[in-house]
Point group: D3
Chain length 287, copies 6
């Protein structure tokens, strides 16, 4: 006799994958889902009551390095929409969790998902929602100048401008030609886990302290998913020096938000995400 289906049937979709043999990989693109989902160990508890699949996202077409500029974000957003649409049409999941810190395709995917009754959540969006449950203003600790600007675009688009205290750059850009990645993120993570000094973590700690003391942050949000591994480290280090402040990574926030929406039977407002030729339409919208 088969076990009853779980309440949560989620498809997690990566923002993109890189071609094989790329020298610029910053995470695994193939293998078991548990291996491809960054920081699986920290996240697995929240996935225990979820039937989940992982889609590795679209292959990037602009080169063989991770997405970081606005141009690259737009290209993978469009490509990921096709994955979202197919998943919705297949009908096997009741929520889609868009992985990655810059939320490529978030708004458009929600438009698609709503038509199919599928909740769609994304990391940065979910982090901002959770952050404002915890304090008045959050700062985003993020990896590079170009990625910062993407995060700012999101803050504006999601209407959190007056809740975002700052975006702090720790200057650990993703691998990209012609630059040699002298400080790969997995090395930084490994160092931190061995109890050694990670320059990335130290930079994040300094940025976090500045965000709290100078910018007015009451909650910290990690920007790029490549920085999510620092969540518990950073929270602990801050607590050690006396700052009892939540640090939020995106995967868990997006998964939890998806559960909340499935539990409440919600996807998105049909007024905010109308279909073409809707039965009712509004003469006037305000902004």
């Amino acid at each position: 006799m088969s076990a009853p289906a779980k309440k949560y049937r989620f498809l997690l979709i990566q923002a993109f994958h890189l071609p094989p043999n790329t020298p610029h990989a910053h995470r695994s693109f193939d293998g078991p889902k548990e291996q491809c989902l960054m920081n699986y160990e920290e996240n697995k508890t929240l996935l225990a009551d979820v039937e989940w699949d992982l889609n590795k996202g679209p292959l990037v077409t602009y080169g063989d390095w991770p997405v970081e500029t606005r141009e690259e974000f737009c290209l993978v957003a469009a490509a990921r929409l096709r994955v979202v649409r197919e998943a919705c049409e297949a009908g096997r999941h009741n929520a889609i969790v868009l992985l990655g810190g810059g939320d490529p395709g978030h708004v458009e995917s929600r438009e698609i998902g709503r038509r199919f009754g599928v909740a769609v959540t994304s990391c940065a969006n979910a982090q901002m929602h959770v952050a404002t449950m915890l304090g008045d203003r959050f700062s985003i600790i993020d990896i590079s100048e170009t990625h910062n600007m993407r995060m700012r675009d999101l803050v504006v688009q999601y209407r959190y401008s007056d809740r975002c205290a700052s975006i702090r750059n720790i200057d650990f850009p993703l691998p990209r030609p012609p630059f040699t990645d002298t400080r790969p993120i997995d090395v930084e993570k490994a160092r931190a886990e061995r109890g050694e000094t990670s320059d990335m973590l130290e930079a994040a700690l300094a940025a976090a302290i500045a965000a709290i003391e100078d910018d007015g942050a009451e909650v910290l949000v990690l920007g790029c998913s490549a920085a999510y591994w620092m969540q518990s480290h950073l929270e602990r280090r801050l607590a050690q020096i006396g700052w009892d402040v939540p640090v939020l990574e995106g995967y868990r926030c997006a998964i939890e938000q998806a559960k909340l929406m499935v539990d409440l039977g919600l996807t998105a407002s049909g007024v905010a995400f109308p279909v073409d030729h809707p039965r009712k339409w509004r003469r006037r919208k305000t902004v």
Copy 2:
């Protein structure tokens, strides 16, 4: 052999209870918890995986009628804080859900809860958080002039001013001397459930349509908990005329937000809710 403890151990605390024999009761104050929790049938699914207790809240001291003015809200807020503190000190729950639409004592209870590692959620606060996950702006459908102003105070205090399209009054005030309650809410609810015309529901429908078409609402939030029973009725009626718009009542939102916070191990930022004599303090706060 005892069953394993559930993950969620919640205390639901009513905003207040009235003295026995009051002629102004609008809900049950004694009896099994399932009977005292309004609209239990609609909410029980979400409570299935929760070990929950119900506290009937403090006895009102200003009279024998339900809370509706700012003065009355302040009085029950202070009285409810004592319940919150005792519950936190007892340590049997990992979240407190404050029932009632006007959130008396919300901010203060979160200050208390954080010191004890207990998440605290409230109805209006949770509804606003969920509403902004679904659309750009919400309107509050609420029962009376004085209660409306309490809701507005909350919108300001929770910093949702630019996300609140309007507060719409349907003019169904709670029972209060010397007025005779000619349209009791349980009668309205019973009518609606029998498929008869409920003036209250019709007024709410008209207010909801005006909120969508004139005010720019994309999500609807029910204000007073005495109006929560209309949630599914109102959503269905709106869908029938072509408005696919979420209607949010407070109990489910607050319960779900509590689950999310427990899952993520979060209560509130220690920077936003500092203890006295904290180890670290900020020289400067911005607003």
Copy 3:
């Protein structure tokens, strides 16, 4: 032959009083009104044309120390409402001045006062009104981390978010167990008045300069009433170094605002502070 009644008949109500024998008193709770009103010498000119009584406020119930946390503010707010209501019912005063820097019960007391035709003013509220008559943005110089957060809640609630440049903490918390108050405020005041160095005043001066030079403050507001004594000292010190900037304490602002309202025959808008079952009600409120 009796003298004609004065135009202004004010009741000044303290935020709270402490039990006798408390080791945590920071001001006098018993004795002639002139002695219990802090900084009477500085304020007496403004009271010369006022018939005034002083109510010592409710006895705190949470312990024997001054109010400082949000929880404590809510408890004394509720208790003070009873004093306000009784005073309004007694009908001997045409204005009530709520003393204390954190304005416990301000909004609710105005609701009560309006029904009785009694103007109600509070310190922080009045200071913010006066501050914005003098410059674009003000900063609040305040005593402790928890009290700062209360002040911030007030700035938001009073809708002065975009006029408040910052809240600056000088870290002189009120006495509270188990802490030993090594720098009592009356000692600081006495030092300053003797022309000696007061650490509290020096900290306030540094905070004020930072508020002006870094935060954009054009007016300074003292937060906690325990800091009001510094008003003239701080203004003079700032002037000596070249900053011609007003420093506002709360008693005088609240007294003057009460006079203005009595002169103009105003208490509060009946639309903003409606009675229950008002003759007219608004279908829609905006925030």
Copy 4:
């Protein structure tokens, strides 16, 4: 033996005066001060404890009709500054009250006044300050399309944008060639005082109701000083139909604000109104 000087020594300065023989006069420009001050009967109580002089303001240079366009406001503003400067240099007054609804020269006069230790208040500015003491949002009931735009410029300049619910036009423009003033304001006022129907008052009442019910006004502000006579009429009429809402005219608000500032010894912040070559200056200003 001479009586002691009064505490308040105010100079009231009209916005302008018209040439003799103008056919476009809407008020008296010559004669005793009590006759030239519009609505003196309603205002005299507040002036009882004031030594006051009235300056009839500069002669208009653009024609022989009252100021109404932005151009005209700028011209009389500049001309009035000379009156303000001379009065400050003469040193006989401790406050200047700038009469007229459009506040020509307000900001500049405050700059002048501060250097001489003279408080300067203006009607619209004072009305907005008082209005926000009474409710959340105010509407301005005003006379004409061009004057409305001046009022809007003031709301923006005074930073009350988010507190102003609307400006309502009742279309009673001031006399101006080549138009024949078929509905002179003094005739309207006389009608209202005789208990007859005044079209102007009826238009204001309709505008006020719309402001309350549709725009969210909680306080009403009369725009042009030519509309101030309606204050008590309008307030009473609104009360009769159930709206307990304050209506504010400008003279009393500006006089009372001047008293408040004299009592508190304040004029304006030297940081907001710096002198040239100040001893201290700010490297950075925020807006």
Copy 5:
């Protein structure tokens, strides 16, 4: 001897083109550039001093109908970026004008353009800039529910929320299966040009009047480029009834903005559109 090169060398890029034989064409996709540029007659004066090429934009991949939903906008945005990049690399133009009302790919194209020293302008963006040169607030007159939401996303993204009075829907959606386009736009335009009644123009006129009278619009912006033909008609009709209000279509605004930027030698700030691995980077961004 060849004529000197013109100062302006612009590439105009359509948002998309449809496959040949589509039954859902709303404009010409092939032929001379003058024929493919909608409303060429109205625009040609501004192009007289421009060397311009027209790129017909990417072929849509989601079907054979015009872009209207968020999903469709994202897909053509990504496809258009490739056109932009190639044009920049080719180096023959000093500005790129992105045609179409919903600005697909605007922000990303500016990022690309800046690296190559090429100014990039878009219709809606340029219209909003010009609109706020003319009045305080603008309304967008737009064609359909889904397109409205795209326009709103743009208003937020471009930070014009507080300058946009409303978006008004006239309900003339673009052709799309399975709907039969019973009111094709070219028919509407032809009718208007023949002096006959165009339902579309009448709907736009009604929406424009409502925007001015009810929403506070002082300038009107046409949303979808399929509505641009109405510009002069609408402006004239409004003038006839007494509203002297500018109506802005997008092509001319975008062309003029491109000229302004070329004249001033500007493309975009390198701080707002940083390159990857910039020489200087900011530790902190605000939003």
Copy 6:
């Protein structure tokens, strides 16, 4: 045979001129127009296709030094309006460009110009428009404490508060008795052009860097026209250290904006700048 008239016929009007023999001149007030227009060499390219006249502005009446305080700005504003009105009545120009950094009389001149179909642009206003085409937020680099406050008044009046990151003071006030101008601006300019160190330029560079790094500026705007000469120097110096950031002076921005408006046939909205007794008027304005 005469050449055809140029498309652009502009009148450039200085803010003011000083009496002959003043010791406080900071620029030429007499002579050929090319000599009186500061920085003509940098601007002449943009004027090549313009038929332009230069009006030297009104003679100041308050003394013999340049305008810098609010009082002085108001006085020259009124005086300049007469020049504007005469020019509009003369009808020889299709645009008026108001020179000077503090925009005296801008709003009023636009009201006049619109009635005559003449576009009016001003420096600071045009700079803010252009700045927000290039980045999210701009900072103003300005010369003195009093002038800074004028710039801030303009930012508020023009509704750019949330786009202005800061106003930075470099403390180079204009000449004014009784102060000896030890650092005249023409000397600073000459030094910079000779490649020597200019203290003024160095101060501006430091202020610009602080604006970018600390305040969030993405574009820089020079405040006083006496600082415009630094535009190219400052931009180059910033580029040298790695900040690719536009620096905007006012003359070119205002000239280009005038061209744009002439090309588009626009002056200002008749709703925003109504005539007296307009054919249509709005019952309600929002702010």
